[in-house]
């Protein structure tokens, strides 16, 4: 039978293993954060859901993909009961894209299948995700948070196209119809 000191000694030894495992996990996360700039989608930008459709950025006519004069690609999407507006957005692969989401009504969530794009869309806040798409094709983009009885049928498509097929009009707009 182990003596009391033995018990204490094995326990302390095991504590080192536990501390080591915890440090390893945290170290890996820290490394990913430093080396690859990985961050959760935190933005803290407030916006009034009651007047979302009256504002500039998220008014219906201004949604979708837009290329700024400096070449930055920004996609603006409204998540509403029970649809994404627009239903289809186009993005170039291999280029950094900023996706901005807002909700005029209740909580929604969005993920783009097979990518790192995943965020909650909370009414009252702009959700913002940065991503570089690698795969081409029509990526399924469902609402992943309960938003009401039509939640199951709420999905959109992100159409990722190679840079040479990605074309914006004079205003910098690009949409699925033009492809």
């Amino acid at each position: 039978m182990a003596s009391e000191e033995d018990v204490l000694r094995t326990e302390i030894r095991w504590s080192y293993v536990v501390a080591g495992a915890t440090a390893l996990i945290l170290g890996a996360i820290l490394f990913a954060g430093l080396a690859r700039g990985i961050n959760p989608p935190s933005n803290l930008e407030r916006i009034d859901p009651k007047t979302l459709h009256l504002t500039g950025e998220f008014a219906e006519g201004n949604l979708g993909t837009r290329v700024a004069p400096n070449g930055d690609v920004t996609v603006r999407i409204v998540t509403t009961q029970f649809a994404f507006v627009p239903q289809c957005v186009v993005v170039p692969t291999g280029r950094r894209v900023t996706l901005r989401f807002a909700s005029p009504d209740v909580i929604h969530g969005v993920l783009v299948a097979g990518t790192n794009v995943n965020t909650m869309v909370i009414p009252g806040y702009v959700a913002q995700v940065h991503s570089t798409f690698t795969k081409t094709g029509d990526l399924l983009t469902p609402c992943h948070e309960y938003c009401g009885l039509g939640h199951s049928q709420m999905w959109a498509v992100v159409r990722a196209v190679p840079p040479d097929r990605f074309a914006a009009d004079a205003e910098g707009r690009a949409n699925c119809d033009r492809l």
């Binding site: 018990v7 326990e11 945290l26 009651k50 909580i107 909370i122 806040y125 992943h144």
Partner: protein, 538 residues
């Protein structure tokens, strides 16, 4: 038989009836999601069912089981009658009234908001008030647990509080801290909205307050399982607890690190900054510590039992354990599920990888495996162990109990392993109907059917469990409570900090202030424009 048997039985039966009914709903929900298309499969019915399933499992099964088991431990571990039994009965009826109000409202279709509420969607106020009453009943229980320990300490100065009771009080204190978040959300935001007193809700604040509760509530559910690991399993296996101190340390670490970590549920939310998410992630990593300590201590305790039973060699002791005893079997199966569930949890907690799995079936799989598997299987084992001392009757043989435990384990694995896989494939959560003609979704169909089969196995096990408890038993020879495990070394001199909660309460306060102070204050410093209430009750 014990003095407060009727009180304990009333709590446990309430818990288990709600549990069995919720299992029926759970199996039906898997059927709806599968390509098989059952009758009545409309979104309206599906989400009503999800709300009822979640509310019954998360609020009724757990709260009533933990209260009942707490009363049981207070009487048996301390060897003293329960203080103020009348107040305990009053608390039971308050919680029962709350349960009936809440579940009745859900079934009437006036609170289809899922059990995590999702304001600005707002159901009938009766639903929320019912849940508040359940919590109020549990607050009375918290007070009674603290008082029972205080009375015992006064009567037995200088002696360490028995581990089972120390853990029960740790859970009670943690629960008091835990409920502050959701109570504030309900009382100051959701119920005023449900009563029509306010037209809009700050959703960022409501989510933050709920996150305060969301992780710790799971540890509230988990405590009884750990109490069984430390104080019941080693005795049932015929051995001793390897270290009493490790047990105490584990329970105070749960108290400490289950609270300032809830923001890991909000990693993907826009209303919090990266800094606080990182801080709470660091603190989250430390919840792995008590679990790893437990795995070590319980394995060592089991090894003592196995070697006492004649087991030899590096692994020979495992075979020598009395696996025919339900408590030992449940502990073994529970650890297997903890291994898978804990591994999945590491992915959830790392915020880079969280983006891959957030709100996918991976998360559903994780908490079903940890709570429904690891924890609930120990609820079964505890019920089997204490039933003779509650009813004066015992099972003629353990065969049906073992069958039930195995079915639960197999059912849980068959249900949740496909969910993990589907989550990685991108299957998202809280969906009533999938379009199985979509090329992305079509390959999921066989896996969803497999998990539906798992759901059916779970349902069979749940019904068998109720039958095992309700069925005719032989009169028990000795209707004594099960023995609590003796420590390998008599716990004669535990550090003062591990025989009370003063220091740990102060530490929780500091951590909560650091982790949640500014994240909550920011909503008052710069209020967000509210979201309009969307009523689902009219």
């Amino acid at each position: 038989m014990i003095a407060s048997r009727r009180l304990v039985l009333a709590h446990l039966w309430t818990a288990f009836i709600a549990f069995a009914a919720a299992c029926v709903l759970g199996a039906w929900q898997m059927w709806v999601r599968s390509p098989l298309r059952p009758p009545l499969a409309t979104p309206e019915n599906y989400f009503l069912s999800v709300t009822a399933h979640g509310s019954a499992m998360a609020y009724v099964l757990t709260t009533f089981f933990i209260m009942g088991f707490g009363y049981y431990v207070a009487e048996t571990a301390l060897g003293r009658p329960l203080p103020r039994p009348r107040i305990a009965w009053a608390a039971f009826w308050i919680a029962m009234l709350g349960t009936l109000l809440a579940l009745g409202t859900v079934l009437s279709g006036r609170a289809t908001v899922l059990y995590t509420f999702y304001p600005p969607m707002t159901g009938s106020a009766v639903y929320y008030v019912g849940l508040v009453l359940v919590v109020v009943g549990s607050w009375v229980w918290v007070g009674l647990m603290v008082e029972a320990m205080r009375r015992w300490k006064k009567a037995e100065p200088g002696r360490p509080v028995p581990l089972a009771m120390f853990a029960t009080v740790a859970n009670a204190i943690m629960w008091a801290w835990t409920t502050v978040g959701v109570a504030a959300e309900l009382l100051f935001q959701v119920i005023p909205a449900a009563l029509g007193l306010v037209q809009s809700v700050d959703v960022g604040l409501s989510r933050t307050l709920f996150s305060w509760t969301l992780h710790a509530i799971v540890y509230f559910w988990l405590f009884p399982a750990y109490i069984a690991f430390y104080t019941m399993a080693p005795a049932a296996a015929g051995g001793r607890l390897y270290s009493d101190t490790m047990g105490r340390l584990t329970f105070v670490l749960f108290l400490l690190y289950s609270l300032p970590v809830g923001m890991h549920h909000l990693f993907m939310d826009p209303e919090h900054s990266t800094g606080f998410k990182f801080l709470q992630m660091v603190l989250t990593a430390f919840v792995a510590v008590p679990t790893l300590l437990t795995v070590f201590t319980i394995t060592a305790s089991m090894e003592i039992a196995g070697r006492l039973a004649g087991g030899r060699g590096l692994f020979g002791w495992i075979g020598a354990l009395p696996w025919h005893r339900p408590m030992v079997l449940a502990t073994g199966l529970s650890f297997v599920m903890l291994f898978f569930g804990g591994g999945g949890g590491l992915v959830n907690m790392a915020y880079g990888m969280n983006a891959m799995v957030h709100n996918t079936s991976w998360v559903t799989a994780h908490f079903h495996l940890i709570f429904g598997g690891t924890v609930v299987i120990m609820y079964f084992a505890i019920a089997y162990a204490i039933w003779p001392s509650l009813t004066g009757r015992e099972a003629g043989s353990f065969t049906r109990q073992r069958l039930q435990l195995w079915l639960w384990f197999i059912g849980m694995m068959v249900t949740t392993l496909p969910w993990h896989w589907l989550g990685l494939l991108g299957q998202w959560r809280r969906v009533a109907l999938f379009d199985y003609t979509n090329p992305t979704i079509a390959p999921w169909a066989p896996w969803v059917i497999v998990s539906f089969v798992g759901g059916l196995i779970l349902l069979v096990s749940a019904l068998l469990f109720v039958a095992n408890l309700a069925g005719r038993h032989v009169p028990a020879l000795r209707a004594l409570p099960p023995r609590y495990a003796q420590s390998h070394h008599e716990a004669s001199h535990v550090p003062t900090a591990l025989n009370g909660f003063g220091f740990w309460n102060a530490a929780v306060a500091v951590l909560m202030l650091a982790a949640y102070g500014w994240p909550i204050a920011q909503f008052f410093v710069e209020p967000s424009p509210g979201a309009i209430v969307h009523r689902v009750d009219r």
